[in-house]
Every structure is written in C-alpha cells, then in structure tokens.
C-alpha cells in the first residue's frame, strides 16, 4: 500500500512537471526556451509512464522526444522571427478562441476519462520485459498490417517533407 501511494506521488509530481513545462512553452518569448520546455514537458510525460510501470513506452518517449524536439528547435530558430526573444514578443494568438478551445478540450478529455467503461482494472502491471515481448508479438502477429501501414505512412512523410522543403535541383542550378 505504501508503495502504491509513493507511485501516486511520483505520477502526480511528473504530471505537474509536464504541465508546468507546458505552460512555460507559452510564457517565454525565446524560441529555444520554448522548444526545450516542450522537450522537458515530454520527458516528464515519459517519466510519468515509467511511474505507471509502462517501461518501454516511457523510455521510448524519453529517448525520441530529446532528438525530435531538438530538431524542432532548429527549425524554430531557422524560421521564426527573433528566436532569442530579445524583443519580448508576445507568443499567444487569438486569445479568446484559444481559451475556449482549451477549456473545451480539457472538459472533453476529462469526460472521456470519467465516463468510459475502462473494464476491469488490473492490480499489477506485467513485468517490463514481458511488455516489450508482448508488444513485439503483437506487431508481428495481429497488428502486422498496421505496422506495415505505418512504414508506408513514414515513407509518404519522407517524400512529402523532401519535396516541400528542399529547393528543387532545377532552381538550385539557376541560383
């Protein structure tokens, strides 16, 4: 019982940390701070997964977000005006609409969490090694099609990103 309550404390702690970093994303006018705050918000989420004993998911989250958010940071620094936040630029847009959307989103999420029939709650999570194994079996068995579709989706993303972002060879030659 003591362990469970400690677990709850950690879940709460990392949850609040994630929210705190999330708020910081919008409170700062430096693009770099904003990007890294989002990074640490995601890291805190990963730590929350760990506290909930979803080890693979947590570690994966912690790993992926570090590189992906850093790459987001370089794109933000490349394309946003005043990335250092020296002009103390206001970062929020259309405040009333965003507040409304935020509140509605929060209510909807809370509603789903509260009113869904989640089924029987298991008393203990499977061992971490078991989780990874089960995930692998799932990928290669029942969800194989989904998995291969993900491959095609990633391919599409690669092609789209390349086609949109890179100056075409023709334009390059002219330049």
């Amino acid at each position: 019982m003591a362990l469970i309550s400690l677990q709850t404390v950690f879940i709460a702690f990392f949850g609040i940390a994630a929210i705190g970093f999330g708020i910081w994303v919008f409170r700062t006018s430096s693009m770099m701070r904003s990007a890294l705050a989002l990074l640490f918000s995601q890291t805190a989420l990963g730590a929350m997964f760990l506290a909930m004993q979803a080890e693979f998911l947590g570690v994966l989250q912690i790993m992926m977000m570090a590189t992906e958010m850093s790459i987001m940071a370089i794109f933000m620094v490349m394309f946003m005006m005043d990335p250092g936040g020296l002009g103390a630029m206001e970062m929020s847009h259309q405040k009333r609409l965003s507040i409304l959307a935020g509140v509605a989103g929060a209510l909807a999420t809370a509603g789903i969490a509260l009113f869904t029939q989640w089924g029987v709650v298991v008393t203990s999570a499977p061992a971490a090694a078991e989780q990874t194994r089960a995930l692998g079996t799932e990928l290669l068995g029942r969800s194989m099609l989904i998995f291969e579709t993900a491959g095609v989706t990633i391919l599409t993303a690669m092609i789209a990103a390349t086609a949109v972002a890179l100056p075409t060879l023709q334009r390059k030659r002219n330049a």
Partner: protein
C-alpha cells in the same frame, strides 16, 4: 552500497581517461595531472557571460554529467555489479545519451556567444549523422540476445563475442560512440582550431570542471557500452569478472582516444554524407546478416 561502488569506480575510470588524455596532449605520463588540473579549475574564477540564458547556461554541464551517469547506470560491470538492471536497458542507454545533445544545445545557446552557438548547432548535425549508427547496431545486438536487458546481452555472447559475430555492427558502433563523446576526430562542437573551444568556450572555473567531468564520464560510459554490447562484458578466464570489465573498458577508451590523436578533424558535410550514404546502408546490411545468422547459428 553496490551503487556507490559502481559510481566510484566510474569516477576512477573517468580519472584514468583524463590521465590518458593529458598524456597524449603533453607527452608526459603524470598520474596526478588531472587532480592538479581539477584543483586549479576549482580555484579559478567562474565567469558568467554578460547576457546569457542563465537557466541553460547553468543546467548544461550538470545535464551532461547526469546523461552520462544515467547511461552508465544500466551497464553491468559484473553479473551483480549493475546499478539498475532495467528490462529495457539497451534502449535506456540511447535515451540517456540523447540528452548529451540537449546539454550541448543548451550550452551552445545559453552563453549567447557566436563560437558556442555554432558549436551547439554543429553537434545537432553530428547527432543526425551518428544517431542511426548507434541505434541500429544495438538492435542487431538485441536480436541475438532476444532481450534488451544488458545482462542478457552479455550472457548471449557466451559462445562468441559480438565483435566476431557482427563485426560491421561493432565498427559502426565504435565510430559512432566516438562521435557521441565528441572525441577527436569528431570534436566538431568543441573544436579549438575552428571555434576556440565552441560550446566549452564560455565555461570557466568550476563550471568547466563539471563539464569536463561529464565528458570524461561520457567516454567511460561509451567504452563500457561497447564492452557490454560487443566485447563480452565481464567474460574472460582466470581474473574475476569486474577485473575483465575494467580492463576491457580502459582498453576501449584508450583506443578511442588514440584513434582521435592521429587523425585530423572530420568535415561536418563529410560526416553527414558518409554516415547516411555509407553508414546507414551498412547498418541495414548488418541487421540483415545478423537476422539470417541468428536463425541458422545462434
């Protein structure tokens, strides 16, 4: 208790790496050199630039040290000497090492200095280059061990060490881990000749001492990872397991330092091009070969 012993032995290893680095740099072997250097750094002023991003500037060296140490926490020195034997250990090493990038970006941005800034962004390019060459070979190692547990990975090499079982993977991982620790010839973010120290340029005194300590621990951690994944970890005749681990780790870190000593720095454009045009296809071939081999000769 176990944890304390491992942390202390890691620090001792980091110290020996520093001795070795000083030996290469000055040509004289002096066991006390890093100690004196550390005392000198502590005694020196630690200056903060005029308009830094103070949070980033202060966090970066600490985050580097934390990242290096956390990666080491899941690597076993002997069957019982491992701080946290996580079920996803091999993945966790990656996760911790990813924060080396975050630390260097923070250091580069935080001091608001041109040299550091270029150094920080350069390292992001370096990460984009080497990252897959860390991740894919580790996957191949996990395929053979059927587990992400680092202790299982060592035991899977009972018959043949992975350096012989998957030599392509070893070479890729070894080179990439030199790039993770930004050792020469991959010292792009802290290049002295290009950037006058790069991300390190603004750190002085105790902050520089923490930064350097973090880098030394990082070197030891990567040597330990190479040992665990490819050199059979603690395995070896006669000597006790921890001694074999220590010997292998020190040998690997010496090889890393010596390799860099005799090579000029790589150009960033070449690093990216070679890693993507040669390294990733090789890593995929390695995955395929190991995949076939695991099925016919485990």
């Amino acid at each position: 208790m176990n944890t304390l012993v491992i942390v202390l032995s890691l620090l001792a290893g980091a110290y020996l790496v520093a001795v070795l680095e000083a030996w290469l740099a000055t040509g004289r072997f002096r066991l006390a050199a890093p100690a004196w250097a550390a005392v000198a750094l502590l005694g020196r002023e630690s200056i903060v630039p005029r308009t830094p991003d103070r949070i980033f500037f202060e966090t970066a060296p600490v985050l580097l040290l934390i990242a290096a140490l956390l990666a080491a926490a899941v690597l076993p020195l002997s069957p019982s000497m491992v701080m946290a034997n996580l079920a996803t250990g091999a993945l966790f090493v990656n996760a911790a090492l990813a924060y080396v990038l975050v630390a260097l970006l923070m250091a580069g941005w935080g001091s608001d200095s041109a040299y550091a800034l270029v150094g920080g962004w350069r390292f992001l390019g370096q990460v984009i280059a080497y990252s897959m060459l860390i991740v894919m070979p580790i996957t191949a190692v996990a395929m053979r061990a059927e587990s992400l547990l680092t202790t299982d990975i060592v035991s899977s090499q009972e018959a043949v060490w992975n350096i012989l079982y998957q030599p392509i993977g070893f070479v890729l991982f070894f080179v990439a881990s030199m790039a993770v620790a930004f050792l020469p010839p991959f010292d792009l973010p802290i290049a002295v000749g290009d950037l006058a120290g790069g991300v390190e340029a603004e750190y002085t005194g105790v902050r520089l001492a923490v930064f350097r300590l973090g880098r030394m621990v990082l070197v030891i951690t990567l040597a330990a990872a190479t040992t665990v994944f490819y050199l059979g970890g603690w395995m070896g005749p006669v000597l006790p397991p921890w001694a074999w681990s220590a010997i292998k780790i020190l040998a690997v870190s010496a090889a890393m330092l010596l390799g860099g000593y005799t090579l000029p720095r790589i150009r960033e454009a070449h690093l990216l091009a070679w890693c993507w045009k040669l390294g990733i296809p090789l890593a995929l071939i390695n995955l395929f070969i190991v995949g076939v081999m695991v099925l016919i000769w485990p």
